[in-house]
């Protein structure tokens, strides 16, 4: 479990995260949403020890990421948005970093790469952007870490690869893992999420399970705007609206609408 208390961070004079408090629990796939510049990538770097908090604390199963202890680092894999990859093969890169990840499974890596039709002997430098993204994702999953941080994982993936990505993450998800996906492409990942967190510079605006959000709100699209609508957006297919779910009806969460609603309230 990840426990964050009063976490603040600034790049020189620019404050990015300001006194953030929240937790990430095991066995869940979190969608971390937030406008540009609220500090999603910064939060990831703080969680894996690449940056050190100015104020506040992060506790991950008794470790503080900033200490960079091997026992902690072997629990965590972070894929930045712009992973380039060195001029070596996927296989030797994975074997190299596996020194830090005791649960690495080469068979699993081969099978994952196979699903994406990527040869394990290819060098990163010969791969396209989309192929590099897929390759590092396969490597990350085959390291079998308890925590997986994915920053915009579907950027650069072609349409069939996005479905393959979802299947892959769904397949490797289990009750011991925590996966946090930061993204603006909510449609690409929404079927994977069971928890949604909306971040702002100064606060966590929303931190709720998908089931609880469905219980609380009703998402509708139609020609007429309900009288008791909390939030409305007009579009081609009619008006999309959110209202309180009073009769226990069930609807599919419109994450983009929810995001705009929550941000409009702050």
């Amino acid at each position: 479990m990840i426990t964050i208390r009063d976490l603040s961070f600034a790049y020189s004079s620019e404050k990015v995260l300001d006194s953030i408090t929240t937790t990430f629990e095991q066995g869940r796939v979190y969608g971390l949403l937030g406008a540009n510049g609220v500090g999603k990538s910064t939060l990831f770097k703080l969680l894996c020890g690449l940056l050190t908090a100015k104020e506040g604390s992060i506790d991950i199963d008794g470790y503080s990421p900033a200490d960079r202890k091997p026992g902690f680092l072997s629990k965590m894999f972070y894929i930045p948005e712009d992973f380039e990859g060195p001029a070596v093969s996927i296989k030797s890169y994975a074997a190299g970093i596996s020194a830090f990840y005791p649960n690495y499974d080469e068979q699993q890596l081969r099978s994952l790469l196979n699903d994406f039709e990527i040869d394990i002997n290819r060098k990163f430098t010969t791969l396209s952007l989309g192929q590099r993204k897929r390759a590092i994702l396969c490597i990350a999953l085959s390291m079998n870490t308890e925590y997986l941080l994915l920053d915009e994982p579907t950027n650069g993936l072609d349409i069939p690869s996005k479905l393959e990505f979802r299947k892959m993450v769904a397949r490797t998800m289990d009750e011991n893992r925590t996966i946090i996906i930061s993204t603006h492409q909510v449609k690409d990942v929404e079927n994977l999420l069971d928890h949604i967190m909306i971040l702002d510079k100064r606060a966590v605006l929303l931190d709720k399970s998908v089931a609880d959000i469905q219980d609380e709100y009703l998402f509708e699209t139609g020609n007429a705007v309900p009288d008791d609508a909390l939030f409305v957006e007009a579009g081609l297919g009619g008006c999309s609206s959110i209202r309180k779910n009073v009769n226990g009806e069930e609807s599919r969460i419109n994450i983009e609408l929810l995001f705009n609603y929550i941000n409009s309230k702050k």
Binding site: G27, R28, V29, L163, F165, R166, K167, V169, A170, R171, M173, D174, E190, N191, L192, L193, D194, V210, A211, Q214, T221, E250, S251, R252, I253, N254
Partner: protein
């Protein structure tokens, strides 16, 4: 598979599973994929899939054999047809009726078309 806009994902997955049973892709008293396998097949979070299984179990369409996994219950096909029929009458029929009224289609015309 692609998921449509309005139903929650777990209910859409229920529809998909019921369809597999109706098409006899999954037969009564046969084992069906585990929650994890199902999640991997459709690219959906296993925790969401659990809700689909719980609903189908409560409706006596599937059941859990301890240590062996989930099976399609005897009589599931008949129960699904009943459920889908009720859902059709409750949800789709009123919309159909409203549209026919709006367009001024008479009962006689409808009967003829059907």
């Amino acid at each position: 598979m692609e998921y449509s806009e309005h139903k929650p994902i777990y209910l859409q997955n229920v529809d998909l599973m019921q369809e597999k049973i109706l098409r006899e892709e999954w037969r009564e008293e046969e084992r069906i994929p585990s929650v994890r396998e199902m999640g991997a097949m459709v690219g959906v979070n296993p925790n969401t899939i659990v809700r689909s299984y719980q609903l189908l179990e409560s409706q006596e369409i599937i059941y859990n054999k301890r240590g062996l996994g989930y099976f399609v219950k005897e009589g599931a096909v008949a129960r699904i047809k009943e459920n889908v029929k009720n859902e059709f009458i409750a949800n789709e029929l009123p919309q159909f009726k409203a549209k026919a009224q709006m367009l001024g289609i008479t009962k006689e015309e409808l009967v003829e078309l059907l």
